[in-house]
Symmetry: C2
Subunit: 274 residues, 2 copies
């Protein structure tokens, strides 16, 4: 039987961390449909009070109490929300005490320490990586290819661009990408600009069915999008990558996060920002 | 006194969630310098054993035990790592029991349920948002502006592009952006294409000092990068946005995550992907 419950993510900051952890926990319950609400920037008693009112209201309307995931650094704010009106799972509260004990230090209990732009070095590294990645998208520039941390290759629409952007934004990685175009595939050769770069090339592939589906959304009823053509391109691209000794990964059943992390892991690239 | 400790993030998946939560907790301890290691895709007993060896080794070399944040769904894998060799903070273990009790259901204990590409609808929405955002970066296309969920404006280098890309990748939001160029500022008018779009425009601003610093890295010793010019442009841009009734936010001390989330929150935009 499928049931419906509301999950609320509350944070004194962006709420991104608590949403990610909460969603990963909720995904373990197949038979519950979760309605999700995020309340970011809850950093005053007043906002805590408003959040509590909203939680109470949901409980009244639905007849079941909401499940609330919080990361609230300030204990006054936290205490103003906690109570019997919801199942409260506070990530901060549960972990900070054992950490204080282990480190022999009190925590600073300061809101807004993580992913802060206060760290100008990290911020600059991210922006620089994003700019680099944008100007080296889809093989548009051979300039400064030596500066690339990684170069992704693959046929058109195999997932190179979003993966590169994620690498840049999340990890500060300078990620160039080159399409393997029909010419490259006919010659069974990598794009000439990449010949000396093999050590930092990584490939993406995808199933012909999925590729045809993606390309059809872009150019319906074209040869480009036809299953036969997708099959041909992919089989040639995979043969080319094998021959060149380039590792590759199948993107079909993987999220952008998984593609990016797998590539980082397998190439032993270290993230440049935290 | 500043001390040094090693933090290890272990996940059976990408490790991104556990890194984010771990970093947000560690940032509460000012006087400790943390060396960080991430071990993603630890999903077999064999990999768990290797992770444990690495943890033991760090403890021996440093004379203090590492702090280990994990999200390990499989209890066998988890038990193979846990022990006295580290402070183990397992996010999954701590929260899954109260959730099971509250929901009256056993969790599926399945690895890899969250941000999975299995959800083709979510995946397509993200890719579509990224493509839209790329083709509407820096005012390069007026086409389909009606489809934009949001349009960011601001002077050159105020942080529009990375914020738009983050909105697209993380939340599936179609985010266009337009630079406010000297012409717009002289006329005290928004770019003409945006005249009918006011309801979905949001502005970015920045301090003149920071802007001059960023622009100097791009074009040293130029009028474009000079503090006087940055002051002039920013003051005109802010006056223009005020006059047009456009809300804006200062990007100087904010991370990309904070900018994106604040804009989502203030414009009441709902995320399109989870």
């Amino acid at each position: 039987m499928s049931t419906k419950r509301t999950a609320v993510f509350i944070s004194d900051r962006t709420g991104i961390t608590v949403e990610m952890l909460g969603n990963s926990l909720l995904s373990q319950f197949d038979h519950v449909h979760f309605n999700r609400i995020t309340l970011p920037f809850v950093d005053t008693l007043e906002k805590a009070q408003l959040a509590l009112e909203q939680i109470k209201q949901i409980g009244l309307e639905e007849g079941t109490r909401p499940i609330v995931f919080c990361t609230l650094v300030n204990s006054e704010v936290r205490n103003a929300i906690h109570g019997d009106n919801a199942l409260f799972l506070d990530l901060f509260e549960i972990f900070i005490i054992p950490l204080e004990k282990e480190l022999g230090q009190k925590s600073s209990h300061t809101v807004g320490k993580s992913h802060s732009a206060g760290n100008v070095k990290d911020y600059n590294a991210r922006i620089e990586a994003v700019n680099y990645t944008l100007s080296h998208d889809d093989g548009q520039s051979h300039k400064n290819l030596d500066d690339a941390d990684i170069i992704l290759v693959g046929v058109s629409r195999s997932g190179k661009t979003p993966t590169c952007l994620y690498l840049a934004l999340q990890f500060g990685i300078k990620a160039a990408n080159y399409p393997l175009i029909p010419e490259d595939l006919d010659n069974m050769k990598l794009p000439p600009a990449l010949a000396k770069m093999k050590h930092k090339i990584y490939g993406l592939t995808i199933t012909p069915e999925r590729l045809a589906q993606i390309r059809t959304e872009r150019k319906p009823d074209s040869n480009y999008a036809s299953l036969a053509n997708c099959r041909r391109e992919l089989s040639a691209a995979e043969a080319l990558m094998r021959q060149a000794g380039i590792r590759f990964i199948e993107s079909t059943t993987k999220s952008i996060e998984e593609l990016a992390t797998t590539i980082m892991h397998e190439t032993q690239l270290a993230r440049r920002v935290f």
